[in-house]
Amino acid sequence: MRPFEYARPQSEGEALDLLNDHDANTAILAGGTDLISLLQEDLQVPQRVVDIKNVDSMQAITADGTGVIVGALTTLEDIAEHPMLADYRSLLDVVDGTRSIQVQSMGTLGGDLCHLPNCWYFRNGYGLLGLEDGESLVASGDNRYHAVLGNQGPAKFVSASRFAPALIAWGAEVRVIGPEPTADEWLPLEQFFVTPKVQSQGISVLEPGQMISHVRLPDAQALVSSTYEVLQLEGLDWPLASAAATLDLDGGVVREARIVMGHVAPTPWTAHEAGQSLVGLPVDEETAGRAGEIAVAEATPLSGNAYKVQLARTAVKRALLGAVDKLEGAL
């Protein structure tokens, strides 16, 4: 870890000011679960670390009549315990799956959405795209944990966010602020993530000096949801594949289904056709299984990760069955 300035703003505006000094070669510290490793490995070398934990406006969970606004600093533990989020079960499933008490108590929602990929080429210093002499190390190396969808360009890592599939399936929006102290914009979370063609693009639309301040969830109404993560270990572990589903049901028949997979592509991966396939049908082993098939129909596994297609298919099926409380006999 190299020397850096440390700043602790009290407001969003002050945070943005501090972030935009040094040509925005700055880093945001929230829970620190990702940033500390990045600093230790010299993967990020900011001139200043801006610790936003004291920005009160980003802590709160409030209702606005049409939904719930969740501050980006909300911890996983807060998500699990807040009554306003009790109906968003797919989010609670993610908190459960995280299992680590340390991450649950320190990790934040905003931090999860901005978590950089766990790709071992990236983490070992070969850059976000894992290139050496312009060639993809992922394609020719060990890609057992890499993307099976959206992997035809140079980016073959998988999105690390565990909440994004559930949030996108809920139709969440995200508030991006900066770089100017007064600039703010709400956009659908689905549009937040990008698949970079070059390393400098990063994993999201965030430009240097910008940050997420809030996430907005539409009213849960009578919708049901679930997330299923395929986890090798019972302890802290990254999912090998995951899926979230949010269902609008009418007498047990699907009116609308939104299905989003995680850890299978460089971004959260919405399975539109799989969702469509359920409309007008009940969710059961057969329809959910078919939706799983459709969700991975376009998969393009790399040399060593075909098994992940099976895992993603299963995650979709189980997320759907979980949403209607029909998931039985899974480990």
């Binding site: 010299d42 270990l233 019972e234 302890g235 099976q310 299963t314």
Partner: protein
Amino acid sequence: MAERKVAWKARKDNTLIGQDIPRLDGVDKASGSAKYAADINTAGTLYARLLTFKGGAAVIKALDVAAAEKTPGVRAVHVFNGVDKEVRWDGTIVAAVAADTPEQAEDGVRAIKVTYEAKPHFVDEEDLPGAAKAKRTKPLGDNQKGDVAAALKAAKHVHKGYYGVATISHMCLEPHGSHCEWEGKDKLNVHLSTQNVSGTGGQFAGPLGLDASNVSITCNYIGGGFGSKFAADQWGVVCAQLAKKAGKPVRLMLDRATELKIGGTRPSGFAEVTIAADADGNITVWDSHHWGTSGIAGSTIALSQTPYCFDGIPNRNRKATGISTNCGPNRAWRAPPHPQLCAITDTVVDDLAAKMGADSYDIFMKNLDKTPKPDVYAEEMKIGAKLIDWKAKWHAHGKGGKGPVKRGLGMAIHRWGGRAGATTCTVKIHPDGAVETFLGSQDLGTGTRTVIAITLAETFGLGVRDVKVNIGNNSYPKANPSGGSITVGGVSGPLRRAGLEALWKIYDLVAAKYKVKADSLSAKGGKILSAGKTVCSWKQACGLLGPMPLEVQGQGPKNDGLTSQGVAGVQMADVSVDTETGIVRINKLVAVQDCGLIIDELTARSQVSGGLIMGIAYALSEERIMDNRTGRFINADLENYKLPRIGDIGELVVEMYQPDSEYERGVVGLGEPPVISTGAAISNAVANATGVRVPVLPLTPQRVVEALKGGQA
């Protein structure tokens, strides 16, 4: 007077031996007051950081440490590998920097300029044809017994299969390393994380040009060794050199990635095996060719113990091929190389049973006549079967239930030696009754300190806390390095001998003073008794020594029955397999284990539980992943080097097999055996659940899903 004979007490007379006695240092460890080498921080201690090679193989073309030496706070730089040196595996240390703070040491490392010229590398331990093409193979022998061809013709059941175990790395909680401090020019004090307190002083002295008598080695506590910490190691000597150069103490512990990369590995083994049996299920043929890697040296698991435990199979061909890879070198890893041998042999036996349509338990039982300890295995199998409810729960392979989650049972057997190591101890009894002992042994976390106290306390009729145990320093009488399960016998024999000799001297003094017969005396509850009646207190008896303490030396091993060797063990696993995700979960593991006379049953069971947990790791998730493309150990971090957490462990049932016949054998080592058959037992349970053999450990979701897709039986 009756002849005085060295022996353990009659079993019924023990008050401490064989009981559950919590370890003496438990509170110190749990509270953090126990100091490990990594904790030593004497005034002015400098921090060391390492520059390591990151790649498969290369030659160093240029190296410039001038900027590092000028970095603020940096006090000393040492070059391990300079210009024109070849670095042959990922993680090889190039240079070390010692500085006032860890950050300054890191700055110094970053300031080193090094230019490499890449060389071809080969790291795929499983790819035998690829290794042959790259000229990386070497024959490691082959031999024959009986007539395999004829026996195969005559056999009723024949099974062929492919099996394997990936390389794993040592992963001690406390990495390798030391704290070195000079006392004047010629005297070096080392706090070393070591399994070999008595044997490492010379390893520092030689390269440093010191008299061995001027090197003090201390290791009061160690955060794991498992076979990887017998040596001073180059980085230990360099720690002393940095300290000398800087004129200040230096602590150099390997960082986690480097620990995984060069702290030592367990070699891999992959095998093509043919096994056959007659109509009754008697195994008649074993024919195997196995290969694997131990790193650049290109070894694999031993040919001589293949097939494992079933030495008596009459017709046998076996062959081994080593692969030289650009991977970190191997070191002894708990029970070398039994876990790999067992994982290959006992899965093959299980598949043969499946092919016969037989219960694996019956086939193991039927073939115990080919093992070294048929009777013990048979008894242990019966106990294990009862504990896991084998008869009720076993089903034919592949009949593990409806739905995606299948359940199954598996078993395996193992053996180990566990003879007593060579140790000398001093037992000192002070005239006020205080008892202490000195020996240059070490407690790896196995409970050695506690076992030492129990042995003397039982001998003198005292409480465990009445014995002061002095270990962990090379100025004490020399003790065996703790490896190979030789320590419990190594220390308990000499202590019992010395203790008895001291006790007999005290008995003689008591006999003279109190006019009782010496051979009527016994020591119990802090008193000396004659025919059951109190003669005097222990303190009064020791007061008869006069002004000077009594000192007795104890030695071992000796053939007087205090210690022995040779154990057999049986493990059984009950697992669930999610066939849609490839996830395997442990429901229950049963271990039935003999180890002769048990000194502390609590620490014995704890050893077995620890073995099972390490077994779950290499069975389900732990493996070194070498990236063929970059030649790097790509998962050398604790996110991707996957070890089980509490939730992955399931229910562990440990049953110490200890009929009187075991007690009469004397003390036998226990450290290694419980880790051996866990992998095979779990693999067999997965095969029983799914009807498919997942051929290579660890049984990751990927391997399980791929095996199920292939449907190979």
